[in-house]
């Protein structure tokens, strides 16, 4: 079983997104996202990392999940999109 953690940094128009991701057997095991972006409502942000745990570490799956959370939680993040969070996570995955 291989576990690896690395940092991915992506700059969106709304700020810098830093991701630390650990995967196990192709799935996200641990994930932490931080940065100087803006996102409303703020508390909904924690759902992103929370719900990405356990899903396949693939771009489409990750972006789809984040988009789903955006719609459900009515998230607004000026200058930062689900694609930007995905990009930061993919960089952490070394893809």
């Amino acid at each position: 079983m291989e576990i690896k953690t690395s940092q991915g940094i992506h700059k969106s128009k709304g700020g810098l997104i830093r991701s630390f991701v650990a995967t196990e057997n192709g799935r996200i095991k641990e994930i932490s996202i931080s940065g100087d972006f803006f996102l409303f409502p703020e508390e909904a942000f924690f759902k992103i990392a929370g719900e990405l745990k356990g899903i396949e570490a693939k771009r489409e799956d990750i972006e789809h999940k984040i988009e789903e959370i955006y719609i459900r939680e009515n998230i607004q993040s000026p200058g930062t999109s689900p694609a930007d969070f995905t990009e930061s996570i993919m960089k952490a995955l070394g893809v």
């Binding site: 810098l16 932490s32 803006f38 996102l39 607004q76």
Partner: protein, 247 residues
């Protein structure tokens, strides 16, 4: 003419200030404009991590807390030459637009009008910066709660770049001169732009006047209400706690 409340908190401990900030947003005392100047401190944005952003071994004599709005670190050195402001307003689509960038632009207009008063080439840079000749002079952060907005921001009068880089979590030995030069190109402060130190009270008075003009209201000096003071006391432990700051 409509009157809004004005409070000048003076030189403050930012943990106390952030608790009062949240209490003003979450109470119901009407639209309010307020000033404060932070003592030596670091305020993390809501989504930042202390150990990722900061070299904590270099921050021992700083007060560190976190705010309820996003954005980047607000760093205050011991020169204490910053005018920080807060605005709490009801989102009405006229004075305070629903559109996030629109509402930033509206409030940042107060800073721009202030800088233009000093004959500087100030402009709004979306999403939330005010620049002079394309150099950032003011950072701003907004959050919303039950139909109201809270915007905090700073107008830099002086700024110690070297000290900011020292506490940042970046490799320090190499390229320090280059880093200082690059920050110097992207950031500026009023004392530098004017080539002299202006009295902070004078600057605050200009800002106050520009605020009144922009919103067509009169600011009336006041203080926290009993309800706000009580809520502040309830919120204080959070801003002093490691769980909140180092989460």
């Amino acid at each position: 003419m409509e009157e809004w409340r004005f409070i000048d908190f003076g030189l403050v401990d930012i943990r106390d200030m952030m608790a009062m900030d949240e209490a003003i947003l979450k109470s119901d005392e009407g639209n309010t404009f307020f000033f404060w100047t932070p003592k030596k401190s670091i305020i993390l944005g809501f989504f930042q991590k202390a150990e990722v952003e900061l070299d904590l071994s270099q921050c021992k004599d700083y007060t560190i807390t976190r705010r309820i709005s996003g954005g980047g670190i607000a760093f205050s050195d011991d020169r204490c030459r910053q005018v920080n402001y807060g605005v709490v307003g009801t989102i009405d689509n006229a004075l305070f637009p629903m559109d996030i960038t629109g509402s930033y632009k509206q409030i940042c207009g107060v800073l721009i009008d202030t800088l233009i008063h000093y004959k500087l080439n100030a402009a709004f840079r979306p999403i939330n910066d005010v620049v002079v000749d394309n150099k950032k002079i003011s950072g701003n952060a907004q959050t919303r709660w039950e139909g109201k907005l809270l915007q905090n921001g700073t107008l830099l009068l002086d700024f110690d770049i070297e000290e900011m880089l020292r506490i940042s979590n970046i490799p320090k030995e190499k390229f320090m001169d280059k880093k200082i030069a690059s920050v110097r190109e992207g950031l500026t402060w009023l004392d530098r732009e004017l080539g002299e130190q202006r009295d902070m009270e004078e600057i605050k008075n200009v800002m106050k006047k520009k605020f009144e003009e922009r919103f067509s209201i009169r600011l009336k000096s006041g203080s926290l209400s009993g309800k706000e003071t009580k809520l502040t006391e309830i919120l204080l432990p959070k801003y002093y706690s490691d769980e909140w700051v180092y989460r």
